[in-house]
Amino acid sequence: MLEQYIPILLLICLAIILAVSFIVLSHVLGPNRPNSNKLGAYESGMDPIGQARDRYSVSFYIIAMEFIVFDLEVVFIYPWAVRYQEFGAGTFWSMMLFIGILFLGLLYTLRKGTFDWDLVHSRAKKSSY
């Protein structure tokens, strides 16, 4: 009855072993030169202490949006790739079309300066934001 779940148990064990061994190994092998920045809480490069209602760069939101778009793209591609043998060539071009449209979106945001963190030297028009 429960035997069929043994692979999952193995997977969980493997995950725990890997996670523990990575932490232990980096402790043992890695150089240890602490400073105050390294010891502080990590918060995407921002000061972790202060008002919650602070203003921060719109770039964070845009990057997050881009991430969601391409993360969801994978959600569509994965089942397609798994069942590709059954579907045949027609779906290949459908998927290429889908990826192509998303790629155009990427080109658009690229040109509009989504990934330019250095806004002073950005090629993109200032009025974009």
């Binding site: 027609g90 459908s94 080109l107 040109r111 028009k125």
Partner: protein, 476 residues
Amino acid sequence: MESVNELVTILPAIIIGFAGLLVMMLDAYIENVRLVFRTTTLFTLGALGIAINDMFGHSGEAFYGLITYGGTAAFGAVLVLIGTLVTVILSRDYLEKTGSHIAEVYSMILFGTFGMLILVSANNLVTLFLGIETMSICLYVLAGLVKNEKKGVEAALKYFLLGAFSTGFLLYGMALLYGASGSTFLTDIATLDDKGMIYWAGVALLLVGFFFKISAVPFHMWTPDVYQGAPTTITAYMATASKSAAFVAFIFVLSRALPEARAEWGDVIWLFSILTMVIGNVLALVQDNVKRMLAYSSIAHAGYILIGLAAGTDAAYSAVLFYLFAYTLMNLGAFGIVAYYEWHKGLDFTEVKNYAGLGFKQPVMGVLMSIFLFSMVGIPPFAGFIGKYRVFAAAVDEGLISLVVVGVLASAASVYYYLRVLINLYMHESDPGITLIRPGVLYSATLIILAALTIYFGVKPGDLTNLLGSFKGISY
């Protein structure tokens, strides 16, 4: 290649979608707003031509029946594309004059139109939902187009929050209908024998979602604020193209998925139709802002159109399609003129009293406004009269006398608020400080063509009504 044929089945939508992507790239890499405008106009014109041709016989299914196109759907596409084309042409001058002429407007309009074209040809709840969402998300963005305008931002946020909420209702309704019938295809839902609680709850939620999109009372609260806050040409787009698309999709849902349950939803729509006509017209009476007045008037028009849906016969549906056509022409025209007057004194120049004496300053614009407003009242020989007449006649045939009585009384009351604008235009002393600029050739030609069509289809509606009557059983 079968998939290529399927793409060709809904060629207008494909053209518009491609144009949207193209325009986006042109904006990013060539940065020429004029070029973007021309490309948008050309592609929309091409798609419109194909859609007009599609009305005469082209029909087909695509993507495993998710999409059925031709007949009524093609006519819906024509309505949407007329709305889009006029919006694009009017937007250029309007946005240039008000200082927010950016190319993203055009790609957003094109993507929104793509959603509407999918919506009018949807034969499946999922396709329907995708169409509605693609359309709505673009409209949310377009409503807040002028970033520094407080009212516009308020409109966009209000529209987004309420729209997302109503989409929730729609989606719950679809989920329950799927749960009850085991299929998302409209025609499969119709064949369900055992109609339990889940089915009725699903139908009710689906109706709520649609009532919101067509702004029927009591789901109309967003309409005046959004229509007033959004840039005027975008308001025209929302009031015509998106509403026509929603109504055509509503017709398909009612006639394909819920034909058996007509007795039940017929009563519901009967009630909402009366509410919408009465409240829309009464509230329009007290508006001092022309855009707000037109928003309430579009609510009232939704009420008249609902009369046709309540009747629910093929004749009534084809009357509704004609009404939508007339509604599209006259609303595009009226909002176009409002946008034109706004050029001169900024975005708040939309109060009725602002219009004092403007009718004589640019006589052509004044006359056009009169034509559009008289057509909205429903006075012959304009298309609005034929639309109202045919909807009322179809309802009388079905014995919905009380509904028609309310409709006629409500439209009699509407004379007051439409004529109030005209009285201000012609019978009040004008402010000598205002001089009106002559509009560009393209701008005035578009409005004149709209007015000419309003008169033409009011005088000679026969060809169009015959064509609409020929769409077999409304299902294609």
